[in-house]
Amino acid sequence: MGIRHIDVRLCNGCNICVDICPLDVLRLDGITRKAYIAYLRDCQSCFLCQSECPQDAIRCVAVHERRMVKAW
């Protein structure tokens, strides 16, 4: 999981989330100018996109899509 939803009605195409994502998870649709989740598996749930979105359009959950190997 990680990033779970981008509300396209709120997204204003500012590209901030695309720029800020450290793992290249998001893209901006060239035609609609709306952000979308392109690589869900690579989201590390850092919440930066949710925190920085000026439209409050993004929702994240801190559960990883990838299995995390544990120390024990």
Partner: protein
């Protein structure tokens, strides 16, 4: 790889399943208590004075001892914190607290249950040997943050920022100082072909598979935190298998996955360096070995340095320049003080120069 420095590296403990590095001190500072699967506040046993405020490597060792005694998983218990403390945590660690809230660990300004915590060996990493200008031993290569060896940059945002500022300035000075570099077009062509190879394959192994395999080899606590030659050799075999049989089959669907393919290549190299250097250090110093439990100041006041030699890793040692230190170290060999503690608590015995679990 121009010369990556040693294995005497910092360790860390952090919430399991959440990518939260910073924050440990704040959670502890507000009164977080480390408990084991039985609900015991185990740091009272290992460090009655400092408890959770003990140093990170001490905490990591305590985690290993608890796991070894069958008391894992381990948790940070913050259920007793007040709403005011939770608000303070939200101010200082907003992203971490958002993560906890998103999965219900924090609700109505309270922690609802203890948070699983685990030690991380992945932060005890090797790094490039740099001078005070943050210049590596390969001319024209500069490094900052945790790309440097732990002697230059232990960990953390502050040293990442200061080393980054210095390295950037040094790199700019270097770029302005010399003539334009001459390019070997043939070499450029070869490097480009190599870099894009995963993109050109129509079948092959996903980077995700290799990432998981590397993690399974090195993340268990008893590989790089609580060390034994036999276990590390097994992990090294797994990493060498990845290097020789899986990396050549890497496949990338697009430039996004090409970047990840190169990252897993680098991770495999770092894992190999880490294991080789840890195997070379036949003593217990910052991190502990069961098969070499003594802190050996007779033979091991030195760093292990890895260098590239015909595409393979070559290890050398370099003496720590003790003559320039204001205080001299006694050249003795004693049971490492953390193993002494474990022995005193009746958790281990030392037999024939090796640790035996009681």
């Amino acid at each position: 790889m121009s010369g990556a420095d040693n294995n005497d590296a910092p360790t860390n403990v952090m919430p399991a399943r959440y990518d939260i590095g910073p924050g440990m001190n704040k959670f502890v500072g507000e009164g977080g208590r480390l408990i084991n699967a039985k609900g015991e506040r185990f740091m009272e046993k290992y460090n009655p004075t400092l408890k959770e405020r003990a140093g990170l490597r001490f905490l990591a060792f305590a985690f290993c001892l608890e796991a070894q005694q069958g008391n894992a998983p381990l948790f940070m218990d913050m259920t007793h914190l007040t709403p005011e403390q939770i608000r303070r945590l939200k101010d200082v660690l907003p992203l971490a607290m958002k993560m906890f809230e998103s999965v219900g660990l924090v609700a109505n300004e309270r922690f609802t249950q203890p948070v699983e915590w685990m030690p991380m060996a992945t932060l005890g990493r090797p790094g490039l040997v740099v001078n005070r200008r943050f210049e590596a031993t390969l001319q024209g290569l500069f490094a900052c943050g945790e790309a440097c060896s732990p002697q230059a940059v232990p960990t953390g945002l502050a040293s990442a920022a200061t080393s980054g500022a210095t390295a950037g300035k040094s790199a700019a000075e270097f770029a302005c100082s010399g003539a334009s570099p001459s390019l070997d077009e043939e070499q450029v062509k070869q490097l480009r072909e190599e870099a894009y190879k995963p993109l050109q394959r129509s079948y092959g192994i996903e980077p995700d598979q290799i990432l998981l395999a590397i993690q399974e080899a090195v993340i268990p606590y008893n590989v790089l935190l609580l060390r034994h030659g036999e276990r590390m050799r097994r992990a090294l075999q797994a990493v060498e298998d990845i290097r020789d049989n899986q990396l050549p089959m890497l496949r990338a669907y697009d430039p996004h996955y090409l970047r990840i393919a190169h990252e897993v290549r680098n991770l495999a190299l770092v894992a190999e360096l880490h294991l080789r250097m840890a195997l070379a250090r036949t003593e217990s110093r910052v991190l502990l070995r069961e098969d070499f439990p003594y802190e050996d100041n007779e033979n091991w006041l030195k760093w292990v340095v890895a260098r590239q030699d015909n595409g393979r890793v070559k290890l050398i040692t370099r003496d720590v320049p003790l003559q320039s230190y204001p205080y001299q170290v006694e050249r003795t060999k004693n049971l490492n003080h953390m193993w002494q503690l474990a022995q005193k608590l009746g958790i281990v015995n030392v037999e024939k120069g090796e640790i035996q679990w009681a």
